[in-house]
Symmetry: none
Subunit: 429 residues, 2 copies
């Protein structure tokens, strides 16, 4: 089977895989479908193209329809879910029915199921035995941690189904120990490599307008994604081996960084807080925060990073003006004259925490997160910041927009603060 | 359009909806598709049946094929993604092309886009303007936080497409403010009402063991969901009208609360921080925090609630021991004798912030979030807490388990602190 399959695939221009997750609990919104994402990532690593994901419930007719559709357009169908012992576990039977193939009871699976029983003396129930039925001619994917095995089965020329349980750790183990090797031997052609660049202080459309030629390119492809306070660019290249693929990525990465300068803060899974902590650890410099409208959000982000305790000393959440005055020594007159959301107040807050906490760096923030408390002069979304470092002393103001939610304004304030902190530390280097 | 649609649908036995998420980043395994799960949950609440979810990439041919398939088997297609300004945002154009309908530039959207620009004097770029193009005859779903609006469009008899951006908070806001009402008016038949009860300090299996009879019931149905530090129960009832449906829910809700007592902290979208803030606002009592291992996480949660500024005065992030000593007046001997993660230290931290901040309530936390810093006696996951209120003074210790991630230990600490705070305030009432 293996050899003929390989020849068939190589005759085709492209091998295409689909993912089909089976389970009414996904359709009801009871659980997030993390299996699709994990398998998608694995297919990308193996260099197997994958163009469609589907979810259907535990319904035989709809499942059959979906499998038939897939068999007419793809070469590989990967399913998850519906392999267990309960009546709503219908995947294997429906797959066999779809291609008019009978199920056979496999003795090797029965022995395995028996071995996995806690009480070795009792016998397998009928529902447990159901898991030993597979379409005639199917290869088994052993389930190491759970009971239900998966199958690898080609019911027709140029179409192979691989089934996995819905339990994530069982699926992952079965994939990594058996299925991935089988897929590489039979289907992998080109290796795919990809790299994500992270940007702050830049909008998606502004970035897109700088790189129209890259966004149109075919190998590597370049795509932009935006989320609150951040823009990401993924560069994806195909090559005959990893080195070749990475060689395609390198000049694009260089070009992007050249076009955007310091706005690119990291690659792959890097976060702003991680960059800030690393820079400070490298310089052996300490930091403290003075937070009003973010309420502890900057401190909370920085302390998410393991090892942050070496340089993050803490801070003051100065939400109430009395705390700004009493704990951070902000003069009452400054608050009365300029208002709590003003440059003089954040300056005084930064100086206050810098002195009290005896640190190298201090950052302060005070703003109007809304939904109330805004005015024409000082609208919701107005936020003031100050950074005091060994040589740095800067104050700035952002207007995030009064159409934004309280949550977004707080999140944008935290990210903006971390980004300017990153840039300030870099400037002193 | 509205009336004819309603008649058409009522002639059918069942109205079926599908979800289609568009974005190569999902196929690459770059992000988990949480939008599908959220929409699935919302459709269940509205009582709209939903049998299929699909994901395709930013590819015009495949997208067109998927939309056509869906138009032949469903009445509603809900899409997410691909509405933005970049070249790979192709959803609106492909939908229009699929049904041979031209796009028109909508002036109301252009004005909205212009209003959302930071720099009001500059003009919209061509890529920004793309977001104002919609198929002729489409209704607009306004995007409040982002730029790209969605559409509600019936390209043929008995088939309506609703489009949303891929950014989760934009999608959710647009759904809740506009789309859900439209769906209810046009497609819901039996009214479905549902209520979510939130529980803290209780495991999912413990709760499930208390209510086997409820979990088997058909109308209302009762289902449990667990997430880090919280268990939810959803009660869903069908009725001819809202009152009937709610009448089915009421006795089940009462039974659940009777069985669990104070462990149920709220309904629907209530959060622990909201409950705490409301209780304190009602009592006109102020609060401050002294956080070590949570790094500002409790303050950050409390300040997410609008109006929290009336009673949340702030706090000290006492990450470094020197800050515990200098700012919170924790005696150095106590730290040296008992260690920073100990009952005497959290007691002293709570007293320190209570005195300095002149508040009615103070909560302190100190623990080992890991991954390093644990010992046999004090393992990763060990966290100490103290609450000092008008009459309350309690200290306790939690062992969240050294197998937990740093992120989970911090999150569990914040939720545990908020829940005990809630119970303490209730006890004083």
């Amino acid at each position: 089977m293996k050899t003929s399959k390989k020849i068939n695939i190589n005759n085709k221009n492209q091998c295409e895989a689909e993912i089909l997750c089976i389970g009414s609990e996904i359709l009801l919104g009871n659980i997030v479908n993390t299996n699709s994402q994990w398998i998608a990532e694995q297919l990308a690593i193996l260099g197997i193209s994958h163009f469609r994901q589907t979810v259907v419930g535990d319904n035989p007719e709809r499942l059959k329809e979906t499998i038939l559709e897939s068999s007419n357009r793809s070469q590989i169908l990967i399913t998850t879910g519906g392999l267990g012992p309960t009546p709503d576990d219908i995947t294997t039977k429906v797959i066999a029915d779809t291609f008019n193939t009978p199920l056979e009871q496999r003795n090797d699976i029965l022995i395995d199921l028996k071995n996995k029983m806690k009480n070795k003396t009792s016998s397998l129930s009928e529902s447990q035995k159901k898991q030993s039925l597979v379409p005639i001619g199917a290869k088994i994917i052993q389930n190491y941690s759970g009971t239900a095995p998966g199958i690898i089965w080609s019911p027709k020329e140029n179409f192979t189904i691989l089934t996995f349980p819905g339990v994530p750790n069982e699926l992952k183990e079965m994939w990594l120990k058996e299925a991935s090797k089988w897929l590489v031997n039979n289907f992998s052609k080109k290796i795919i490599s990809s790299k994500v660049l992270h940007f702050a202080g830049l909008s998606e459309s502004l970035l897109a307008d700088k790189i129209p030629h890259l966004l149109k390119a075919k190998n590597p492809t370049v795509a932009t994604y935006a989320s609150t306070g951040e823009v990401k660019v993924r560069i994806t290249a195909k090559g005959d081996n990893l080195e070749e693929a990475n060689n395609f990525i390198e000049p694009i990465e260089k070009e992007l960084i050249q076009l955007t300068g310091l706005k690119c803060f990291g690659v792959d899974n890097t976060t702003l807080e991680e960059v800030v902590i690393k820079l400070l650890l490298h310089r052996k410099e300490t930091i403290a925060v003075a937070e009003s409208c973010t309420g502890g959000g900057i401190g909370s982000k920085l302390t998410k990073i393991p090892g942050s305790s070496k340089i993050f000393h803490g801070g003051v959440i100065a939400y109430n003006n009395s705390i700004k005055e009493r704990i951070l020594s902000v003069p009452e007159e400054i608050i009365n004259t300029h208002g709590a959301v003003s440059k003089p107040v954040v300056e005084s807050m930064a100086i206050g925490v810098h002195n009290k906490f005896k640190v190298n760096w201090a950052i302060s923030v005070s703003g109007i997160a809304g939904p109330t408390g805004g005015s024409k002069l000082k609208p919701v979304g107005l936020v003031n910041f100050c950074i005091k470092g060994p040589k740095t002393f800067i104050t700035w103001e952002e207007k995030f927009g009064s159409n934004k939610t309280r949550e977004d304004i707080q999140k944008l304030s935290v990210l903006n603060a971390l980004d300017r902190l990153r840039l300030s530390i870099l400037m002193e280097s």
